[in-house]
């Protein structure tokens, strides 16, 4: 061991410490609306994380190309989480100090961790189509916004659709439905609702967990081969989805009987399986692949044509790309709504933006103006309802592309609302929170 080495090692360490200190101190506080972007472009879920992130950033670029939010330019910074909760928490801490407007964790695990932190920091969380299902109850979850859908809603729509296929929900009696799910909070979210439905309609629910990241499914599909369920619900993400489809093909399980949640129904999930996935159905979180939507064309002409696109051009308009686009749209529109109240052309704080997300009123006319005609239906939130709307459609993979194969459907409020309220009350009791008062709703 030479002294030279020692000095080198010591200087590396010293540089590390000082770098970490200075970079946190150097905040750029410009007059811009800052959107932190939690992404995962690496790791097991990268194939699905990348299109979402590209769509998200491209839409923010489009907002600037359109002239900002009432003149306020938007800025953003990406932080790589790798879908790991502790890295996500680190990203949150790093970016929140830069004047974060809203966080979209894109991971149920990170959502759970941030749900505890957001109220203290007064930063809203948008978890469109994922996160905690009970956080749709704005009376308890003041800072969470599971806009346009929760897993309970998704599971409910799937059961309804299957019931319709069978010719009525009462025909489900005695049927076997298997849930192949990612063994994490994400995959477990739909279980309470499915159990509720199973008890109500008398179908047999089979729970088949798959461990992270989901490439080991041989045993699961052996069980499916053995028990031959009438339907398989797939609650996977990333490589788990394509693996499940390949295993279904190998097992000989009909793909037509498989229904994925909206995170299991995008191009990366079926592309490699190709024709083997033909007939596979998945829920669409309102939108599907939208290559012809006005917003897609605008992104192509105003962002990609200028050489400023974030990802490859042919990705624009794909399912997950569009999910990123619509997630960014919610983030931006909430700020626009907040500006109506707190002053147009001003930079909104996280707290002000929260008001915007709570009083979001995206009418059809507004959506059309934003280029989302035909992509999604109106969404309006309130103090009580942080979800806004829970419309969904089924789309089916025909071997080359996703095609819509059902009408708009909505989760049954009679079943969902009491469950949401009960779960939210349980959370409030655990945390010793009281429900928000009408006065708090105005704030």
């Amino acid at each position: 061991m030479k002294l030279r080495h020692l000095v080198l090692a010591a200087s590396v360490l010293a540089a590390g410490v000082s770098g970490a200190l200075t970079s946190t101190a150097a905040f750029a506080q410009a007059k811009e609306q800052f959107f932190p972007v939690l992404v995962y472009r690496t790791g097991a879920y990268a194939p699905n994380g990348v299109p979402f992130a590209n769509g998200y950033v491209d839409y923010l670029k489009l907002v600037n190309a359109r002239g900002g939010i009432n003149g306020v330019k938007v800025s953003w910074e990406e932080c790589e989480t790798g879908y790991a909760t502790d890295r996500g928490v680190e990203c949150y801490e790093r970016l929140k100090g830069k004047g974060a407007t809203v966080f979209q964790p894109l991971s149920t695990g990170i959502t759970f961790a941030l749900t505890e932190k957001a109220p203290g920091d007064k930063i809203p969380l948008i978890t469109s189509g994922y996160g905690r299902s009970e956080s749709a109850d704005g009376g308890v979850f003041k800072w969470n916004f599971p806009l346009v859908g929760t897993y309970w809603g998704a599971a409910d729509v799937l059961v309804q659709y299957i019931g319709k296929k069978e010719g009525g929900l009462d025909k489900l009696k005695g049927k076997k439905i298997a849930l192949v799910y990612h063994d994490s909070p994400y995959g477990k979210e739909p279980i309470p609702l499915l159990q509720e439905r199973a008890a109500a309609h008398g179908f047999n629910l089979q729970l088949l967990p798959v461990t992270h990241p989901g490439v080991e499914q041989k045993a699961t599909w052996l069980q499916i081969r053995q028990s031959r369920p009438d339907y398989v619900l797939l609650w996977g993400w990333g490589v788990m989805n394509s693996t499940a489809l390949k295993e279904a093909q190998a097992t000989g399980y009909p793909r037509e009987k498989m229904y994925g949640v909206w995170w299991s129904g995008a191009e990366p999930d079926v592309k490699d399986v190709g024709m083997g996935a033909k007939g596979y159905n998945a829920l669409a979180l309102q939108h599907g692949a939208e290559p012809n939507a006005a917003v897609t064309k605008e992104i192509l002409s105003k962002v990609h044509a200028k050489g400023d696109g974030t990802g490859p051009k042919d990705e624009v308009g794909q399912v997950l790309y569009m999910r990123g686009v619509s997630a960014a749209m919610f983030a931006v529109e909430g700020v626009r709504a907040a500006q109506e109240r707190f002053g147009k052309g001003k930079v909104m704080t996280g707290e002000q933006a929260r008001w915007g997300y709570e009083n979001l009123n995206l009418t059809q006319a507004k959506l059309d103006a934003l280029g989302f005609k035909g992509v999604m239906r109106p969404v309006s939130t309130s103090c009580k309802d942080h979800m806004g709307a829970s419309w969904a459609r089924i789309h089916t993979w025909d071997g080359k592309e996703w095609k819509f194969t059902s009408d708009w459907m909505q989760a049954d409020e009679q079943i969902i609302n009491p469950m949401v309220k009960a779960a939210a009350d349980k959370y409030a009791a655990e945390k010793k929170l009281t429900r928000r008062t009408p006065a708090d709703c105005q704030s």
Binding site: L6, A9, T85, D86, F112, P185, A423, K432
Partner: protein, 358 residues
């Protein structure tokens, strides 16, 4: 010149047996501890607390526990993540199921249950050694992963398998702000550090080291291998369990079994190997290296890119982060296989001879 022990004569056994026999060391360590308690809170911002210091302090505590087992007793363990998980879930269950349970007791009960589980999985160490034992302890990891995912009683029957705690209080002191969390964890770390240091200096620590160096010879001179090995497992898992409980309660607040996956076990083992096996100081170095370096690289690489006028994408940064991190580990282990703690002691040795090395 300044770091010299000339004239420091030990005239009593007590003086000779101090933890830090050299006066300069003693003052330096006292100064560091004082700085950690008083200076750091004045200097750093919330991000440093939440993202770097609190994880560092808690993982240093866990590394300390692992070091006792792996570094001092030579029993390679890949189940540390599991013992952390046991600590976290046991603490959680005692905390929510017993009305009015004080936080400290809940944390200690986490350690206690981790001790029991650790000893249970330590029993194979009486028969198997080295890599074989590593695989046996891996079983602990898989078992605990399974148990906390599947047995819903542990997670208080939450549907998603994710649990959370809040309203942490110690003697009426709310542990809410990052500063309080940091101080709380730091106090526990200092306490356990002192405890561990004294344990490894004492008779039992010598037994562990004898077993590590050559178990047959140790048995011949009258050390009971069973007692030594199981006590190492017990002490180590107690500390790791408390660290796990802190990680869950104080750092994450809401967690799922994936927070204590096999990755965590590897991470802890790397901390011990890189920091220095069989060294209390090494645990701190190792934890700092593993916790701080990836975050630092993540923030430093874009700056570096800016300087030379290249914009590096997020994906490229995280790939580069992994590569640089891996390369640094390999480099460190080639240059100094005994870890960062050894570098530290080499540095001290040099300073003692400076400016006239011979």
């Amino acid at each position: 010149m300044f770091y010299r022990e000339n004239g420091q004569f030990k005239t009593t056994y007590a003086a000779d047996q101090q933890i830090f026999p050299i006066t300069q060391d003693r003052w330096a360590v006292l100064a560091i501890v004082a700085f950690a308690f008083i200076g750091v809170p004045l200097l750093v911002d919330e991000y440093m607390f939440r993202a770097i210091l609190i994880p560092f302090v808690i993982l240093a505590l866990a590394a300390l526990g692992v070091n006792i087992l792996v570094g001092y007793c030579g029993q390679i363990s890949l189940g540390s993540g599991a013992f952390m998980a046991v600590g976290a879930y046991a603490a959680y269950n005692t905390f929510i199921r017993i009305e009015g349970m004080p936080l400290i007791l809940a944390l200690l009960s986490g350690g206690l249950f981790a001790t029991l589980v650790g000893m249970l999985f330590g029993i194979p160490s009486l028969r198997v050694k080295g890599l074989y034992l590593a695989v046996a302890t891996l079983a602990a990891q898989f078992f605990c992963d399974w148990a906390f995912l599947r047995i819903s009683w542990f997670t208080n029957n939450t549907s998603s398998g994710s649990v959370s705690v809040s309203n942490l209080q110690v003697f009426g002191w709310n542990i809410e702000t990052p500063l309080h969390k940091y101080l709380f964890c730091l106090a526990i770390l200092v306490l356990f550090g002192l405890l561990a240091k004294n344990l490894v200096r004492g008779a039992i620590g010598r037994e562990w080291m004898a077993i590590r160096d050559m178990d047959v010879a140790a048995a011949v001179i009258g050390i009971r291998p069973m007692y030594a090995k199981l006590s190492a497992f017990a002490v180590s898992s107690f500390i790791v369990g408390v660290a796990g409980a802190l990680w869950a309660f104080v750092h994450l607040g809401s967690w799922e079994p994936a927070a204590f996956s096999v990755d965590r076990s590897f991470q802890l083992l790397f901390m011990v190997i890189i920091g220095g096996m069989g060294s209390i100081m090494g645990s701190f170095f190792g934890a700092a290296f593993i916790v701080v370096l990836p975050i630092f690289l993540n923030q430093f690489l874009p700056l570096l890119g800016d300087m030379v006028g290249v914009e590096i994408s997020t994906a490229a940064i995280s790939h580069a982060e992994l590569m640089v991190f891996g390369a640094l580990i390999v480099w460190f282990l080639i240059v100094e296989p005994h870890g960062l703690a050894r570098l530290w002691s080499v540095g001290k040795q040099k300073l003692r001879l400076w400016p006239f090395p011979h």
